[in-house]
């Protein structure tokens, strides 16, 4: 290994993000009064700035590889990098008033957020175990802090400690798995692990893969690694919850996708049953548990568990009958769509919580009459989550089923049927909220907050709604991204 080769163009998004994080930190530190206004702007604009090199790189279209193949910028990486940046931006929008109005304002909030996004962008390009590990920890560590952001609120504390303990435990399991993989393949590079995987391997190799995946399963809160999610989602500040349930979860999927697609793919026996089980369990438990919830955040938590299960379905069948491409595309497209609709849903929850000081489903009663626009928007997201056309969710389900049928094996079909049945069950709980909003009269909640939906939140809703509707009608945009991202592989 000679002098490392630096392609600054390829690294530009990462560099921009790092600079933005630092700048925000400095501004907050130096400019005490104005920082309160400036820092969020810096974070937001910084995230959008980082998009510019992503686009130029995409336009360039060339695959750039660095650090001996540990860091690769290709379509796949760019697709996710762009995605994470936009999600980060929406998260900033959602946080703006929430953090500003609470008693917990600190400029560090945005620094941490940007840092986490930085981790995600790196993760998208990571092609070796060490890089993946570092990236994923960069994603996760700031979110531990963010989850406990409301430091005087014991519920927030609890959310943080649960998330933290389970998180580090999972990290430990994952690392243990990685260490074994390293030992058995003598490499940390995914491409080399891939060539090893295609050969004959001891059963321990499969266990190692499983342990690695278990760490990611924690990030995506797949059953049975999901227990932290509802508690943490409920206790954490709502914008953080949104961020966790979308960006952090997506990061887990990216990691999983990378190691499976580039590393373990050649030995499907080791990873496919595991993901199959995770998917099936998540779909069943997530959907059923969501039925019982009375708190909308917990409901969305279980819903996100279930959606995670759906996202895993294409991956779980991708080892069969050359369905790989359809499978990977399915995962990617589903993640993109899921992000839009779930972020949007949380934006609505935040707006409603501002209004009613509650996240009980009951607090949505009569929203259709008191604030029809918001009710419409929330309804759109819920329908989309349920997979009802013409909102984007249908296409996510569609690509999922497409992968299942492309594979066509018995296991795939069983999973497909399970997914079909439970996507109907899912409407039960999404429908509950919709019914509350439209079919019920408003209930008096006593202490009501501000009925106004702040501008930043409106912007967040507008962006996500637009995505959900436009993709619902013209899914080609996302489908194309999925197509490009996996053209190389």
């Amino acid at each position: 290994m000679g002098t490392p080769y630096f392609d600054y163009h390829a690294l530009a998004p990462v560099i921009v993000l790092a600079a933005v994080a630092l700048l925000a930190l400095v501004v907050d530190f130096v400019w005490k009064d104005g920082g309160r206004r400036a820092v969020p702007q810096i974070a937001g604009i910084g995230l959008l700035l980082a998009l510019i090199p992503v686009f130029t790189l995409a336009a360039d279209g060339e695959t750039r590889s660095m650090f001996g193949g540990a860091f690769v910028v290709d379509n796949y990486a760019l697709a996710f990098a762009g995605f994470f940046l936009i999600v980060g931006y929406v998260a900033v929008l959602m946080s703006y008033d929430y953090i500003d109005e609470g008693d917990y304002y600190r400029g560090e909030y945005y620094v941490l957020l940007v840092t986490s996004v930085l981790g995600m962008v790196v993760l998208a390009s990571a092609r070796d175990l060490i890089t993946i590990f570092v990236a994923i920890e960069t994603v996760t560590l700031p979110t531990f802090v963010l989850a406990g952001w409301r430091k005087h609120d014991t519920r927030s504390n609890e959310a943080a400690i649960k998330y933290f303990i389970i998180g580090v435990l999972s990290s430990a399991v994952m690392l243990y798995g990685m260490s074994l993989i390293f030992g058995l393949s003598n490499s940390t590079l995914l491409s080399e692990i891939g060539s090893v995987a295609s050969g004959d391997n001891p059963a321990l190799f499969a266990v190692a893969i499983f342990l690695t995946l278990a760490g990611f399963a924690f990030k995506v809160s797949a059953v049975p690694f999901h227990f932290w999610a509802p508690d943490t989602y409920q206790g954490a500040p709502l914008p953080v919850t949104a961020f966790l349930s979308v960006a952090s979860k997506a990061a887990g999927f990216v990691a999983m996708l990378s190691v499976v697609a580039l590393g373990f793919f050649a030995s499907p026996n080791s990873w496919q049953p595991v993901i199959w089980i995770l998917a099936a369990a998540s779909i069943v438990v997530g959907n059923l548990a969501a039925l019982r919830q009375t708190d909308v955040v917990r409901m969305l938590a279980y819903s996100s568990v279930a959606q995670g299960g759906f996202i895993l379905v294409p991956l779980a069948v991708s080892g069969d009958n050359d369905a790989a491409r359809a499978g990977f595309q399915g995962v990617l497209v589903y993640i993109l769509i899921y992000a839009a609709m779930n972020m949007g849903a949380f934006a609505c929850v935040i707006a409603n919580a501002r209004r009613t000081r509650s996240t009980e489903i009951q607090s949505f009663s009569g929203l259709g009459r008191s604030n029809p626009a918001m009710a419409v928007v929330f309804t759109v997201f819920l329908f989309s989550l349920a997979g009802i056309p013409p909102f984007a969710g249908w296409f996510a389900k569609f690509v999922m089923f497409r992968a299942v049928l492309d594979a066509g094996t018995t296991a795939a079909v069983v999973l497909g049927v399970l997914a079909a049945v439970f996507s109907v069950v899912a409407f039960f709980y999404y429908g509950t909220v919709i019914r509350r909003m439209w079919f019920h009269a408003p209930v008096d909640l006593g202490d009501t907050g501000s009925p106004q939906v702040p501008g930043a939140l409106v912007a967040a809703m507008a962006i996500t709604t637009t995505v959900v509707v436009v993709i619902g009608v013209y899914p080609q945009l996302f489908a194309k991204i999925g197509d490009l991202a996996f053209r190389a592989t």
Binding site: I161, K162, I165, I166, L169, S170, V173, A203, L204, F205, A206, V207, I209, F210, L211, A214, F218, P224, F225, F227, W228, N269, S270, P273, V274, I277, V284, V285, N287, L288, A289, A290, L291, R292, Q293, Y302, V425, F428
Partner: protein, 692 residues
């Protein structure tokens, strides 16, 4: 006119719309439109008949020799068409709709049967229209009544001129609709609307047969066209099995519409409608539709029931049974209209039986004559109730009306004699035609049935006439003769009841009816045209006369001594018989009490119950089940497993070591435990799978 016969039904149809939309604004509330329309239709019908007769005569004279042959034929037992020239029916039509390869026409067909029906229907309808101006005077829905009457006529005429069976069915159903409207004319009262419903539903039940029948015929013959169907049924390559099924099915249609046993029960109930409507229904329109259908596609029945072979067949049996059943019921009625209604049932039985025994001509002829005298009788009964009993038809409130109502009386008597079949009134000739055919075909048993029926007819009509016109007036009103609007139609009908039969009176060498109206294009060639049998004629006349005398005797006795009544009360068998008749063979109890009530009650409720509790129950159970599964998944699995079950497992097995009590240290650590346990279990499973 033969080419444009479609105008005839169109006129009343237009009149219907005119009355509906403008009737209320007319000075006579729409009646004038209806009368004018029917008048026009009648005139056109007469023109049509004339032209048809011209056509027939022309054909006859063209064949010269055949014409003399026809004259010489007399009443010999020969195939109908051997000597007579075939007069082609006039058929015009255009494509109504097409479906797949099949094209369906709508069109008009003119032949002997049709022109005969046209005249009968338009004439009776016209008279009823006129009659109603007086009878329905100041009715609450006078205009609607006339509208419905016009539509009724239009529907019937439309049915009559049908060139194909589908069109016939359309008219058939429309006739049913109109009878529904008219029977239920006074729908405020429940019994009337019940009667209307009953009429519609019963005929509709028969229509299942009609529908099935014409479908079978359609697929067998490949067309609905009447000529094609008839030709097919008589052709050598006919599918006998299909024709049999078709005949049976169509027979159900006839039974429903023409009130044959056991679907006859709606007919007496239909008396709930205004009396002129009853006359129209029973004489010219609704009920004869069934017989008309039988005559229309006679070859189908001929082939299906093998009528040419003699013996028993469904058609003849049904007709024969109906004759007796109807006549017997007519005995026990106190309502004059009901007597007439059952009489109609019985006479329709004659017609159907006639068809069944091969007496096509007899059946059609009887339809023709029956129309006049039955209309006459009904209108007479209406006249009585209108002018004498204040809208009551109970014969127990009549009596002695001979004096105050002479016109009504005499016309009624004429009608009665015609109905009883006494020489030389109309009924005699047509019944004789039927009985003679039954005799000379191989249907002796139906000859007997017919004779018994004739005797019973004479008897109950005598009873009826006696109770109505003789003895003392028992009502509480002031009987007087009706207005000309009522009496003029009565007189016209009475005259026709006398002379109509002469159209086909063999002893006088007149067989114009046969000559003109048997020309329908395609009747079975083996059909028998009976020889006039003086012996048989004498028997039937004398039988009728004797029975009239005997009946009169009993009725007088009953009047004076209450003998008959006493008999039914003294004698258990007689009483049971009386009850049996009074309850109309318990058929209505069966239909309404058992079948309808069953379907509407337990069966419908049962279906609904199945819907609510079984099918919906399954649905709801699935819903509840998933909710329950949700509760289980969440509370038992997701929360409790962590809280309790895993704890227990942990406590007892997994970590049965020292630090166990410390394992209960909080929810968070239970999450951790579950996580690690899952890792362990799945990891082990993966290991095992990959080792194997």
């Amino acid at each position: 006119m033969l080419d444009n016969v479609w105008i005839i039904p169109l006129i009343p149809a237009v009149s219907y719309l005119l009355i509906l939309f403008f009737g209320k604004r007319m000075p006579k509330k729409g009646a004038e439109i209806g009368i004018a329309a029917l008048g026009a239709a009648f005139v056109l019908a007469c023109i049509t008949v004339m032209q048809w007769i011209d056509r027939v005569e022309a054909a006859v004279s063209k064949e010269g020799g055949a014409a003399t042959g026809l004259g010489a034929l007399g009443r010999s037992v020969v195939a109908a068409a051997t000597g007579a020239p075939e007069v082609e029916p006039v058929v015009r039509g255009f494509t109504w709709w097409e479906n797949g390869p099949a094209k369906f026409e709508i069109g008009a067909r003119v032949d002997g049967l049709v022109v005969m029906m046209l005249v009968v229907v338009t004439l009776i309808s016209l008279l009823v229209h006129v009659y109603s101006t007086a009878y329905m005077h100041e009715d609450r829905r006078f205009t609607h009544y006339y509208a419905a009457l016009s539509l009724f006529s239009a529907s019937m005429l439309f049915m009559v001129i049908s060139a194909n069976l589908l069109q016939l069915m359309v008219g058939w159903e429309l006739v049913g609709l109109c009878s529904f409207m008219l029977i239920g004319h006074w729908w405020e009262e429940k019994p009337n609307s019940n009667a209307a419903l009953k009429a519609f539903l019963t005929t509709r039940t028969g229509d299942v047969g009609l529908m099935t029948g014409i479908i079978i015929v359609f697929f067998a013959a490949g067309s609905f066209d009447i000529s094609v169907v008839n030709e097919y049924a008589l052709s050598p390559e006919v599918n006998h099995g299909l024709m049999m099924w078709a005949s049976v099915a169509l027979m159900f249609g006839i039974m429903g519409k023409s009130g044959q046993f056991f679907l006859h029960t709606w007919l007496p109930d239909a008396m709930a409608g205004p009396t002129p409507v009853s006359a129209l229904i029973h004489a010219a329109t609704m009920v004869v539709a069934g017989v008309f259908l039988g005559a229309r596609v006679y070859p189908v029945f001929w082939e299906g029931f093998s009528i040419g072979g003699g013996g028993l067949n469904m058609m003849a049996v049904v007709g024969g049974v109906t004759i007796i059943v109807g006549a017997a019921l007519a005995f026990v009625q106190n309502d004059i209209k009901k007597v007439l209604a059952y009489s109609t049932v019985s006479q329709l039985g004659y017609m159907v039986m006639a068809l069944g025994v091969g007496a096509w001509l007899g059946a059609v002829f009887h339809l023709f004559t029956h129309a006049f005298f039955k209309a006459c009788l009904f209108l007479g009964a209406g006249s009585i109730s209108h002018s004498a009993t204040h809208h009551s038809f109970d014969m127990r409130e009549m009596g002695g009306l001979r004096k105050p109502m002479p016109v009504t009386f005499w016309t009624f008597i004429v009608g009665t004699i015609a109905l009883a079949g006494i020489f030389p009134f109309a009924g005699f000739w047509s019944k004789d035609e039927i009985l003679a055919t039954a005799d000379q075909g191989d249907f002796r048993i139906f000859l007997v049935v017919g004779l018994i029926g004739a005797a019973m007819t004479a008897a109950y009509m005598t009873r009826c006439v006696y109770l109505t016109f003789f003895g003392q007036y028992r009502g509480h009103h002031h009987p007087h003769e009706s207005t000309p609007a009522i009496t003029v139609p009565l007189v016209i009908l009475a005259v026709l009841s006398v002379v109509a039969g002469l159209l086909q009176s063999a002893p006088f060498e007149i067989k114009k009816f046969q000559e003109w109206f048997e020309q329908v294009g395609g009747l079975p060639k083996e059909m028998i045209i009976p020889e006039f049998d003086y012996g048989l004629a004498a028997i039937s006349v004398s039988l009728a006369t004797i029975v009239v005398g005997v009946a009169a005797f009993f009725v007088f006795r009953r009047e004076e001594h209450g003998a008959l009544k006493g008999l039914t009360q003294r004698n258990r068998v007689a009483h049971a018989g009386y009850r049996f008749l009074e309850r109309k063979y318990y058929l209505d109890d069966l239909y309404e009490g058992v079948i309808v009530a069953g379907v509407k009650g337990p069966i419908a409720r049962g279906s609904n119950w199945i819907n609510q509790y079984v099918i919906d129950g399954v649905v709801n159970a699935v819903g509840r089940g998933s909710a329950r599964a949700g509760r289980w998944a969440y509370e038992v699995f997701d929360q409790e497993v962590v809280d309790g079950a895993v704890n227990d497992i942990g406590r007892e097995t997994v970590l049965a070591g020292g630090g166990m009590s410390k394992l209960q240290s909080g929810r968070l650590q239970r999450y951790a435990l579950f996580l690690l346990a899952s890792v362990g279990v799945i990891g082990l499973a993966v290991y095992i799978v990959n080792v194997a």
